[in-house]
Amino acid sequence: MSDHLVLEIDRVSYSYGGEPVVEDVSLSVNRGEFVGLIGPNGSGKSTLMQLAVGLLRPTSGEVRLFGMPIDRVRDRHRIGYVPQATASRTGFPATVAEVVSTSRAGRRGLFHRSNQADRRAVEHALQSVGMSAFRHRLIGELSGGQHQRVMVARALAGEPELLLLDEPAAGVDAVAKLELLELLRKLVEERGLAVVYVSHDFETLRRYFSKVVLLNRELVFFGTREELGDQHDIQRQLVEAALAADHHDHGGR
């Protein structure tokens, strides 16, 4: 079973300026699982993602990837990460294809020039998000939704085994959001990709996610969607979580 284990978050806490942002969270993600990480604003979802990919170090606890402590994982290209949509660098002089190719650099290793396999992976990733026609477009000329799809393609081009997406559907229209979820489901089913999908919109969760994490700084729930019960319950738990968040949270991350 352990070779199926992709990501383990083991009693992880993180504080920023003395304020706890994530407290004592434990969860694990296996190959071929589509995990929804749901929580209200300021519940620590993004922070937990950044801890999982090694951009932040836990104040206590440990993150393990592919069975190894994160600091010892050398082939980081096995992780794909789509950060929360930030203001895209509008003036950055790169085409869509060039941006997507940046995820291949870590996979190639230092001093290796890009080759046929890199170009194929970039093309394939662009096709899978329906952005092939935009490959020569400047990255700054895309709409918010198109930009986000390119970021997903960028992560996919690295051919990851674990893909973490931080609110990838923010600012994307409903059709594009469903397309993205369908694409991810296909990758999970066909390639055994493990996906962690952060959202504060839980409407879509029942249909796509095999496991659900409810986070409100602490872990509120972690289990299969069947264990979670009907949607009414989820709503109630989330509302409770959000209320508790407002009570505790002072604009945390």
Partner: protein, 278 residues
């Protein structure tokens, strides 16, 4: 015109043209990574750090570019250390290196008690007095910088696009950051004799600024920046000879003209596209 052709036949002019070509290619090639990472003023800091090195070498009677190289690389490491220590104060790191360099340079110069025209040449550049040794140093360092840039082109581009994403995908971001500033330091030293300490940063960033007006990809950004760099050096050198102006300043002014032309060209282009749409 005849005198120009005659001048090109002279050794000093040939050395000037060759040194200028190296600088015209290498400065923008490194500068692209500085500009895209919003580190445009790093070249300035490094130039001023190398002033201390030139003055120190002068005092000790050793080859000035060697002193410049030592101080520029130390300045580069200092800038990167301070920058990674407190990321939000990146410009402060620059300012500290900038003023330490120039203050040390001034003090060392005063110690030597012989502020000569030669030292003046390092401040403002004196491409027409480039020696064979200078040309050799400039060519070898220029070639080395280009070779490294080619080797880690993909990595540096990924770093310039997004440092966090580069880190997640497993690139040695810390080491690459040091590499960029050290390459900039070496480039500044190679370009010192041509455009001078006070203007060297201009050659790192102005051709890139011009390129950014027109480029439609990263590849084009690099190619256009180098083209603007080479044209500025040759155009500036030629004009300075014909009009009897200071070559270093004329070269940088030529680069500024190139930037203005590119910016106007861009405006005209977008205006035409708008009217075509209507």
């Amino acid at each position: 015109m005849e005198s120009l052709i005659e001048a090109i036949g002279q050794g000093y002019m040939q050395r000037a043209i060759l040194a200028g070509l190296v600088v015209g290619v290498v400065c923008p090639a490194v500068g692209v990574y500085l500009v895209l990472r919003r580190l445009s003023l790093v070249g300035d800091g490094l130039g001023h750090a190398s002033f201390a090195g030139v003055a120190g070498a002068w005092l000790l009677g050793i080859y000035p570019l060697l002193g410049a190289a030592v101080f520029a690389v130390l300045g580069a490491v200092g800038i990167e250390r301070l920058r990674s220590w407190r990321r939000e104060y990146g410009d402060l790191a620059l300012a500290i290196v900038f003023y330490s360099g120039i203050a040390l340079g001034v003090v060392l110069t005063s110690l030597s008690r012989r502020m000569s025209a030669n030292l003046f040449g390092y401040l403002f550049g004196s491409i027409l007095t480039v020696t064979s040794l200078d040309l050799l140093v400039i060519s070898v360092t220029g070639a080395a910088v280009l070779a490294v840039l080619m080797l880690v082109r993909g990595e540096l581009f990924a770093l310039a696009y997004d440092e966090d994403l580069a880190r997640v995908s497993g690139l040695p971001v810390g080491a690459l950051n040091y590499l960029v500033v050290v390459l900039a330091a070496v480039t500044v030293v190679a370009a010192l004799r041509v455009v001078g300490i006070l203007l060297v940063a201009g050659m790192l960033v102005i051709p890139v600024a011009a390129s950014l007006q027109l480029a439609r990809s990263f590849r084009q950004t690099m190619i256009y920046a180098v083209a603007f760099g080479v044209v500025s050096v040759l155009g500036g050198l030629l004009s300075s000879y014909l009009l009897d102006l200071a070559p270093g300043g004329t070269i940088v002014l030529a680069a500024v003209l190139g930037f203005l032309a590119a910016a106007l060209g861009r405006r005209a282009g977008s205006h035409r596209r708008r009217t075509e749409k209507i």
